[in-house]
Amino acid sequence: MDSEKGSRILLVEDEESLAVGLEYNLTSEGYEVTRAGDGRQALEILKKQTFDLIVLDVMLPYNDGFEVAEIIREDSPQLPILMLTARTASRDRIHGLEAGADDYLTKPFHLKELLLRIQGMLKRSQWYQELSRENPVFRFGKNEVNFENLICTNGRQKFRLTAHEAIILKYLIHHKGKIVSRKELLEKVWNVRSDVETRTIDNFIARLRKYFEPVPKKPIYFKSVRAAGYLFSDQ
């Protein structure tokens, strides 16, 4: 059994038959599954129990998936959230990712794809937690990043990274001095195929530059390497 097997998953889905099917398959994969039928119940369960991952439907009674994700992010910035929804519009996807989802899967989905994504998210989360335990605080220049609570300072202000921004930053720091391609970031951090739009990566890097670079247009920490990718340097 892989290390992520036995992980605790909170499944928040109001469609009874879909929830039954998902619970069966996730349990068969070796995960411990707890089910919630609406947003309010999910938040109540989260107050009492801890989980390694949340599979969260968007259209839920009481609190919808976006609200649940936002509330979760206030206390658990690192808890991986996989949003499951029938909505396919890109604005919904962006809304989901902004609310704090780490990944987004549209209905109807293939079971194998869902299981692979869950596996990938759990692996990333474990990798991130292990590295964060070793070095919870990282400093470069005037910047300080706490990878446990995701709170950062850049000499001018204090702010909080999203889970995704933190994982990208962690990945770049872990590979400092080496060129990391967009393809690699997409595959390792997003766990998606590299033929997916790579502009998403550029947007994230632009955000990191805005947070940490003294002059974002002339980066010294997050350098672009033409036709190759990005290079992090803490010097």
Partner: protein, 340 residues
């Protein structure tokens, strides 16, 4: 910051446009008056050549009428524009809801099929997945039919088989059917009062009305549902009060719930399923019958009462009822002709 799609934004633009028009009007009047004063000061001989009083008054009045008409046309245009925006927003809501409603059972069926093909399940579990798939396909079928029936509603074709019914036994009959369909035991739904009278009704369409109201009550009640139907007969009308103890409807939304595609987005709502068509159908069907429907709710958690009124046969709305029976006869004749 005002959002570009908000109602206030349109009002804001409209007010700005009106101010612009009024300023233009002001400038125009000011110019006219100041010219008039200047011209009055010029030699009488010259002014007689320049000014022609009658024509100028005609131009002023003509200009004012033109500006007022332009202003009215703009008001009308903005009114239509706001209506169009509201309709587009409701339509977007409908698309979002219907996408969710269609894709959720589809996702469930796909998941069940993949589960059955990936795992060797014992017979009982196989049966469970098959039952779920059947339920979901029934739900899909119902939804697709609902969407396909929108044009029928729009063209008043949903109700056509009008007949004269003793209303009280008919309601008892329809509720008995609903008990089975929604699996409601005796005390969950009961009929009070009585009404010994006749109404002209399309039985199938009226069943849609009652089923939609019952379905709504089930969806928006947090605990077990309790529905009471109170029947009454008045001089010229039959009334039916359909009450539940659900989460209620906020006062500001009570008029809008009958609008096409309208749905209330409320954190206290125990349900997110629906297309926003159910109560629209209910209102339209009642209207076709010459009746009316209204709603009262004392507030959150205090339930909802739908008040339905139907004209009595043969006392009330004679012309309308005659037309309904004529439609039914025509339909019957057409059906028997097609049958031959």
């Amino acid at each position: 910051m005002i959002r570009p799609h908000s109602f206030i934004y349109h009002i804001f633009i409209f007010v700005l446009a009106q101010i612009a028009w009024l300023v233009l009007l002001g400038i125009w009047i000011y110019r006219y008056v100041s010219n008039y004063i200047i011209f009055s000061k010029v030699d009488d001989r010259l002014s007689a050549q320049i000014l022609s009083e009658g024509r100028n008054v005609f131009i002023l009045v003509g200009g004012l009428i033109l500006l007022v008409m332009v202003s009215l046309a703009m008001s009308l245009l903005f009114h239509r524009l706001i209506m169009q925006f509201n309709l587009t927003r409701l339509y977007d809501n409908f698309i979002a809801n219907i996408t969710h409603e269609l894709k959720s059972p589809l996702a469930s069926i796909q998941l069940s099929l993949e589960t059955l093909s990936l795992h060797k399940l014992p017979r009982s579990q196989q049966q469970e997945f098959i039952s779920m798939m059947l339920r979901d396909s029934c739900r899909l079928n119902y939804l697709i039919n609902s969407i396909l029936e929108i044009p029928a509603i729009e063209h008043k074709k949903i109700a056509h088989n009008y007949r004269i019914f003793q209303i009280e036994p008919l309601i008892h009959e329809l509720i008995l059917e609903a008990r089975e369909q929604f699996n409601l035991s005796g005390d969950r739904i009961r009929i009070e009062g009585g009404a010994s009278c006749e109404c002209v009704i399309d039985r199938d369409a009226f069943r849609i009305v009652l089923n939609n109201l019952i379905d709504n009550s089930i969806k928006y009640t947090t605990g077990p549902v309790h529905i009471v139907l109170t029947l009454n007969r008045f001089a010229k009308r039959f009334t039916l009060d359909f009450s539940d103890q659900g989460i209620g409807i906020p006062v500001e939304d009570q008029k809008r719930v009958f609008e096409k595609f309208f749905r209330i987005h409320d954190q206290n709502s125990p349900n997110v399923k629906g297309t926003g068509l159910g109560l629209y159908w209910v209102r339209e069907i009642i209207r076709y019958h010459g009746g009316k429907i209204s709603i009262t709710s004392k507030g959150r958690g205090k339930g909802t009462t739908f008040h339905i009124e139907l004209p009595l046969y043969p006392i009330s709305k004679k012309r309308h009822i005659r037309n309904l029976l004529k439609i039914a006869r025509k339909r019957q004749d057409k059906d028997s002709f097609d049958g031959q």
